[in-house]
Every structure is written in structure tokens, then in C-alpha cells.
């Protein structure tokens, strides 16, 4: 499997095999990212398809990704998702099946209290904060990978992650904090 820089160079030359490889390699990641933020698998599939068609259009117009291919794909996915959220009222999804995490009983009670609050609270975050949350927790990416995709330093992403989680905590009812 080619590394990302050589894949990028090849798609700039409209190499059909490389273009197919891009779809095979990144489609699921982009789809999961959008679905995490929208909670609507149908729309997520449509928007993920649009992300890859945007890549074809960018190549057609002579404006291909410059440095990071995955960063470019996530940036387009982020914009399309943000546009969709602005157009519609979105119920932000969070995991329903918490048994997979096997939290303790105390944790389960806490999470049960927290989940509906978080669903509302996450909508109050900035788009950039929602982006970092989706990459770190939806995609499970490392801090370094998240920083690379967001074209930010690791320190900046760390700070952004902290602000996002702190905002969520602030937006939760006071008694939830005190219970902890």
C-alpha cells in the first residue's frame, strides 16, 4: 500500500488506480466521522460520497490537496457536516450501547445522567471543538494524527480538546458535577 504523499502525487496526475485506492482507504473513516457528528447513517453516506466527488472536482479544477490528503478529506467532511447542521436541527448522537465499555455501576448511573445533557451540550460547542471531539472520540485518532489532520500543533489540539470537554462539563447541570 502506497504512503499518503506518493498517493497524493499520483492522484494529482489523475492516476485511476490511485484514485480508487483513495476511496478504498478513506471512505469508511470519512463516513464514520460524519455519522458520528450527524447520527444519521443515510445522510452520512450521502455526504461521504460528496466528499470524494469534491476531490474529483478539485482535481478537475486544478486545485488538488496540497500537503495532507487525509487532512483535506476531513476538512471537506467537516464543512459539509457543518453546513448540514446549520440547515437542519440535529440531535447529536452518542453511544446507546454502553455495555461495550463495561463501566461500573456508579459510572453507569453517572453516564445515564450525563448522556441526555451531553446530547444538548455538544450542540453548543464551536464547530472546531465538535471537529476535535469527532476525531479524537468518534474516530479514536491519536493526538498526533488529530493534529496532523487539523494542521495544528499537538499542544493546540490538546488545549482545544480540554476546552471542548470543559465546555461540555460546564454545560451540564450543577448537581452532576457535585455528584462526582
Amino acid at each position: 500500500m502506497a504512503d499518503e504523499p506518493s498517493l497524493l502525487e499520483r492522484i494529482k496526475r489523475h492516476d485511476q488506480q490511485a484514485l480508487a485506492e483513495v476511496h478504498d482507504r478513506y471512505f469508511n473513516q470519512i463516513y464514520h466521522y460524519i455519522n458520528y457528528r450527524l447520527g444519521d447513517s443515510d445522510t452520512a453516506a450521502d455526504l461521504a460520497g460528496e466528499v470524494f466527488l469534491a476531490l474529483i472536482n478539485a482535481l478537475k479544477n486544478g486545485k488538488p490537496p496540497k500537503t495532507s490528503l487525509s487532512g483535506w478529506l476531513y476538512a471537506v467532511a467537516r464543512n459539509l457536516t457543518a453546513d448540514h447542521i446549520r440547515q437542519k436541527v440535529i440531535t447529536v448522537p452518542l453511544i446507546e450501547d454502553l455495555e461495550a465499555e463495561t463501566p461500573s455501576l456508579t459510572d453507569q448511573i453517572y453516564i445515564a445522567q450525563l448522556t441526555p445533557t451531553l446530547k444538548q451540550a455538544i450542540l453548543e460547542l464551536t464547530d472546531e471543538q465538535q471537529h476535535v471531539i469527532a476525531l479524537r472520540f468518534g474516530q479514536g485518532l491519536s493526538l498526533t494524527d488529530t493534529a496532523e489532520i487539523m494542521e495544528k500543533s499537538v499542544g493546540a489540539v490538546k488545549a482545544l480538546q480540554h476546552r471542548a470537554l470543559a465546555s461540555l462539563a460546564r454545560l451540564m447541570p450543577l448537581e452532576v458535577h457535585q455528584d462526582g
Binding site: 502525487e9 453516564i111 455538544i122 479514536g140 490538546k158 480538546q161 480540554h162 462526582g180
Partner: protein
Amino acid sequence: MDRFESILDESISALQAGVPIEEILAEAPDYAQELRPLLYAAMVLADPNPVLVPEERKEALRTQYLTQAAALPPVTPTFSDKMQAVVHIVQRRLTRGALLNDLVTVSLTVALTLVMTALIVSFAARDSLPGDLLYSAKRISENIRLSLTFDNQQQAALENAFNHERISEIEQLIQLDRTAIVQFKGVLDTKGENLWVIEGLTVFLPEDGLVIQGDPQEGDMVDVIGFLETNNVLIADTIIREPNSP
């Protein structure tokens, strides 16, 4: 703040690795109160069972994408594209793994070159005589062969062959009327006052400067270092009786 952000990130990594929240908080008691709500939020935010897109839907989107991709006109790489490709190749070559590969390749190439050079020099030196440029290479090659022969019988046979080669070299030098410093081993056939016959070669014993060790007698094996003059006279410099001589 930086310290807390680092602890938060380490705690999130631990959480994602399946460490229970209480265990994580116990590791950082000073920050536990501040960390707890953030970690609960992080736990709820995790997506352990992501929904997969149905294969037929994915395949349809892929077909649509590839159809549009096929319509893209072919691109001839510009000079700038070629330069960028070269830069990428160089950047890839500068990684630790690539450098290690290069080091191994260079080392193997150097080692192979040295071995090949040694073989060629050894082959070219096989007919050289004392005083020739490549004669040292011939003797080094013989010593290497001796040191790489571990069987005692084979080693003795090899030493015997090399001794005969020394005698043969002296005979050739005499025929060519050349001067040279020579060394050989052989049996002391006849022991005269100033002339000894060793392995069929007549050796002149000078009055000054001669070193004789071990009081060699006729029939003994001796090691001789001497100088062959142009008048075919072999003047001994050192004669040593071999320790295991009969």
C-alpha cells in the same frame, strides 16, 4: 494549564485503553475533582461500535466516484511535479529505516568490493617473486589460507607446499640473476665451515653479522633468512633451528 492538559490527555488515552475511571483518578488525586466530569464526558463521547455503511450503498457511491474519476483528463507531469517527486523520494530516503537500509547496503557493497579486490590481487600475485610489488600480497594470502585451515594434517601439507614454493622462488631468482631478500625452510644437508647446503641450496655464512640459533646439525630443519646476490650467492643473515626438528 499545560500540566493539566497533559494529564487529561494521558487519562483519556488510559480510558480509551479500557482502564476504569476510578483507577485513573486514583493516579492523579490532586486533579481528580476536575478530571472526573471531563472523563465521564469523554467516556460518553466514545464510539465503540460505529455503524457500518451497507456494502451495496458503498459500492454504488464508489462506482459513481470512479465514473467521474475516469472522466478526468490525463495529466502530463510538469518540471515542478518532477522536482516535487524527487523531493518526496529524498525525504523518504532520510527516514531512520531508510538510512539503516542504506548503511547496510553500503557496508555490504564495501565488504564485497574488498573481498573481490583481495581475490583479484591474490590471483595476480600468485606468480610474483621476492622483491616484486605484489609479493607481500602473495605471502599475506598464504598466511590467511594457513590461518583458515584448522585440520592439522592439511595445515602441515599446506606449510610444506609453501616451503617448496619458497625454494622454487629462489631458483627462479637465480635463473633471472636477480637480487632479493629471501626466506625459506629446509633440511640442513651439509654443514661446512663457511658453506652450508640447505634443501639443495648452497648458503654462504659471512663472518660478520650472522645469527645462528639452536646449534643446527645436519638433518635438522632450519629457517633461513638471507640475501641473494646477482652472482647467485646466497648469503645467510639468520639461521634458526626449528624447535620440533628431529
